[in-house]
Subunit: 216 residues, 2 copies
């Protein structure tokens, strides 16, 4: 079950400048893959080490235990990818809602079938660990809040320049956009159907169009 090939094209592509050369980072990314595939609890330290060629001595030299390794994966790998993929691109646009729509479209198009099959590492970890470990929950929650904040800013900017209809509450839009994006990914994953994911994303885009003023 846990064996796999690493040939999948990830939408959160690895960046070239990431320091893969040091042992700690090797373990961190191997752990990220294992966790992404099998979940945290089912992730095997022996598997992680087998993929890196390292041993248990190396692991426990850099991390005190499995739980702290999981925390580090969240803070140093997952947070970074979410930020680069969904938060950073939102900055400073004249028409923030349009650039949000564009971001959703681009994200959707970047998914391979394998990406969709594996699901979103953020939401799957949240589903698994949030109910049973506060350390996981708080660390994952930080990422979600950063994400929300970024969208809130964008919506408020659009609001202030009169691009939105009256009833819109920025925080509500933010929470809903994030929720729907992850829900769309989940729908694509469970159906293993990329078109279903895109279809769902178009629904979200329709919503974002409906809250915009037509006469502007």
């Amino acid at each position: 079950m846990s064996d796999h090939d690493d040939s999948g094209v990830y939408w959160w592509r690895l960046l070239d400048d990431e320091p893969f050369h040091n042992t700690r980072t090797k373990i961190l990314f191997a752990a990220y893959k294992e966790i992404h595939l099998n979940g945290f609890q089912a992730a095997s330290l022996n598997n992680i080490l087998a993929h890196t060629g390292l041993t248990k001595g190396a692991l426990y030299h850099h991390f005190p235990n499995k739980t702290e390794l999981g925390y580090a994966v969240i803070e140093e790998v997952i947070a970074d990818r979410i930020y680069r993929s969904f938060i950073a691109p939102l900055n400073d646009s004249g028409r923030p809602i349009d650039s949000l729509i564009e971001l959703i479209q681009q994200s959707g198009n970047a998914f391979s079938l394998r990406d969709v099959q594996l699901g979103c590492p953020l939401s799957s970890l949240a589903q698994e660990m949030a109910p049973i470990d506060e350390g996981f929950r708080t660390r994952l929650n930080v990422i979600y809040e950063l994400w929300h904040e970024a969208i809130v800013k964008a919506v408020m900017k659009a609001q202030q320049s009169g691009q939105l209809i009256d009833q819109v509450q920025p925080e509500q839009v933010a929470v809903m956009v994030v929720a729907t994006m992850e829900g769309c990914l989940s729908a694509g994953m469970i159906s293993q159907d990329l078109s279903k994911l895109m279809f769902c994303g178009e629904g979200l885009i329709q919503y974002l169009n409906l809250i915009q003023n037509k006469n502007n």
Copy 2:
């Protein structure tokens, strides 16, 4: 981690007529709870049996292995609860969108804090098992498709009686509604904040209002 009290009020309340008296069902529901708490892979058969007072002989008399037990939990417990909570209530309304909105509101109000902390058993199981076991994925997908179909019917009915704006595609609305509902639950779970869940739900309701014709 796996110990817990069973005092939580579930929104998918157990119905009185469910046959708890026979051994198979006892195991089934104990397994459901364990899986809902810890996920399937981390669910311990020994824990399940300890909660029922039964032994391994009983379990392996009724189920060939752990995986088949998981399948049975999906088909006989989870499917039933989703159907009763979200699918059956959608039938035959004069104003289907309004009754869908009402269903969303009622569901939201029925959540206790503990319900939200635990998350949705359907989506958490999907996140965990869909990528690594086809048997789980297909069985969970059946539930989602039934859910989608029911909403598609409702939207088409509203469409045919001219209650919706032109751009609406029923299947798109269906996929998005389900996706957003689960995303809202996820947002509530990760923040451990009921108001965030409700807030997200109101966003979805706003969407459902926006796709309705105002002059009707």
